[in-house]
Symmetry: D5
Subunit: 96 residues, 10 copies
């Protein structure tokens, strides 16, 4: 099941650089692991923003919630979720 | 170059069904041709809405504009465009 | 899987009363059938509005889209969808 | 009488973890007691958000206000309230 | 139980004057009857707008919905409802 | 002359409790004195919010401004003001 | 007493030109009479918009409402009203 | 050339009172000098808000920017600017 | 003096094609004449929209208003105007 | 390829003046270098705001993202990006 997710990140201005770097490093590791697993199907940067557009492919809405809240940067994110489904004009038989 | 596009369609309440059907048929044909060409890389329906989320892969912003305005349903659409680029945590070397 | 859906209905001012009545009658029949099936789990009126708050329990986002777009009043509705999941403080073990 | 309530929680970035944990623990206890009493009829997590959608069944608007302001996390919440009533297409004779 | 209601009226530009006048006449009659009954406790015009701010005193949210939807101008109104309760600094012991 | 006023209060998270209590105490005293004088005609709590809906009856807009800015909580409030007048369907001859 | 008023005009696309011209002519006559009387103290066009910013000097909010609703273009206007008062840094002793 | 300007002031909660008083004093001095010069033609308080509505009469947009950014409170203001011009129904031959 | 202008065009769905074509033809002629004169300094299409971003270089706000309202498509446009001035980091000595 | 960018700058109230000055100095140097290179084609101040409107001429959306995120003030900016293309009524054959 596909969900489009937009994540806007805003770190506190007074967060020490080492803390921010460590957060970003662990975030990247988890994001890449989830991409390799196929759960985080697409991950794009929005031009000019500390934000991304992502497509998740999960078994349920609950699984998506668990993935998102497990992200190290979750406490600093504003997140919007939209459920997607196959478009009747898509050339693919599934939701791809 | 990737762009995320959201299209919301609103046909006039008094459009004859035959006109609407013909518009949708030619829209679908063009949408599928553009998918096969690789320009319209993804096309998903937003659940519960007469709207889609699309990813276009074009050579320039001008090309995107020409594609969008050539759609038969263009006069009945509200369109939002966001430029995307590769995310530093993506596992792909290109924008894919 | 649970989704919260808000539907706002706006019929054209010049729709003949017989047409509107027939639309509402078939809408009600389908809404009640879907409630009996367990798919449309809750249906409440928002006070002072021609609008409802509903909870759907479906197998996938696609199924929800198919249900919503099959509603006779769908062309006259503005629809908002939010995916829900179990709250950690819920006293129920499932999403109920 | 039914009210739909949406609660968004935002804890200060500099709140000590022990304070936050204690707040969440007492919040959960009260939330569960109110669910057992039937006052807090439904409690769902919104996917990807530190927020919930709830249905309260109270004797009056005043009772709802007293319940909401008694929540330990109330000072850190943004709350929206909508009054609900029975939908004419509901299969239930009461507001359920 | 008190509810604040804001009603904005927008009649179609092509409604015949006789129809509009008859709607307004029956609206006024019902509004005044409800004021005399104590259900529609306050009714004020918002300066410069075809809109009012009202305070209703009803036994339940359902009763408010029935009152509002019985208004002849209801199909032409945008309505916002807010539940009120006694303020702790009020000099009145009840919600008055 | 009547004005509807909505006041939303937001105290800084780090304000000492004694300071907040003293502010609220003097706010309540002034609010009650203004109610007894007839200037602050109605004061209701909005359900689920640290906010109120008030009706002021003043001689001029200037007087309203002076009253509002004299409130001890004024620096912590977001305030919206709407001018009201007698509604043609009101059963009262004055603005009451 | 001063009020700032913003009026946005939107005439129906199918209004006959003669009707529009007559409306504008009578609107202008009344606007000029009210300016000469001192009630409509300032009247400016917002650049690029069919809209104006006005300052009214009236005895009461009711008088303002009566003036605004007497304008021939009132049914085609969206109107916003803000109450003004003397600024403490003004070099004038009154509201001027 | 006339511009309507709205300025909303928000001082940090932890600014020492002496600093705030000094800022306001110098702000008032400059505001009054600019009023005497004719550049700051009108200055009104918005009722219930720490905000003003002003009309500036300047030779160019650049001059307006220089005036606004020279205000001592500028760093604490949210500012909206709208260009005005003579209204065709104005009784004045110039922009007055 | 520079102004940024955004124009969104929305032609009525039932406007005859010949009328629309004639409007667009005269609009283009005037737009090009104004570009040649230097008044309409830049004119760009916003990708995916029937809208443009323009930079005007005029002697006064009044002149801008006269230019905009003389456009044949003006009655079908939503227009936003922002006054610009030289940026202190610009490499040009004037507003260019 | 042209993009319109709006940047709003908001420095923390407690940033030392020397830090702010150094940030602005390096920002200006980079902004001027990018203007000289032709990448940052236009840079205007919005009147009354600590904000600019810019036109960038880049080879790709990725290049724009890299330029924007390399700005020293980037962490303190809110940025909006809109893709532009040649307008059919432009007198220039390219996007200029």
């Amino acid at each position: 099941m596909l969900f489009k997710v937009r994540m806007d990140v805003r770190l506190p201005a007074d967060m020490p650089k080492a803390t921010a770097d460590e957060l970003k490093r662990t975030e990247r590791e988890l994001a890449q692991a989830l991409q390799h697993s196929g759960k985080w199907r697409h991950l794009w940067r929005i031009v000019g923003q500390y934000a991304n557009i992502s497509i998740f492919d999960v078994d349920s809405a609950s699984e998506l919630h668990d993935l998102l809240t497990s992200l190290p940067l979750f406490p600093y994110m504003t997140i919007e979720v939209e459920a997607l489904c196959r478009h009747p004009s898509s050339i693919h038989a599934d939701e791809r």
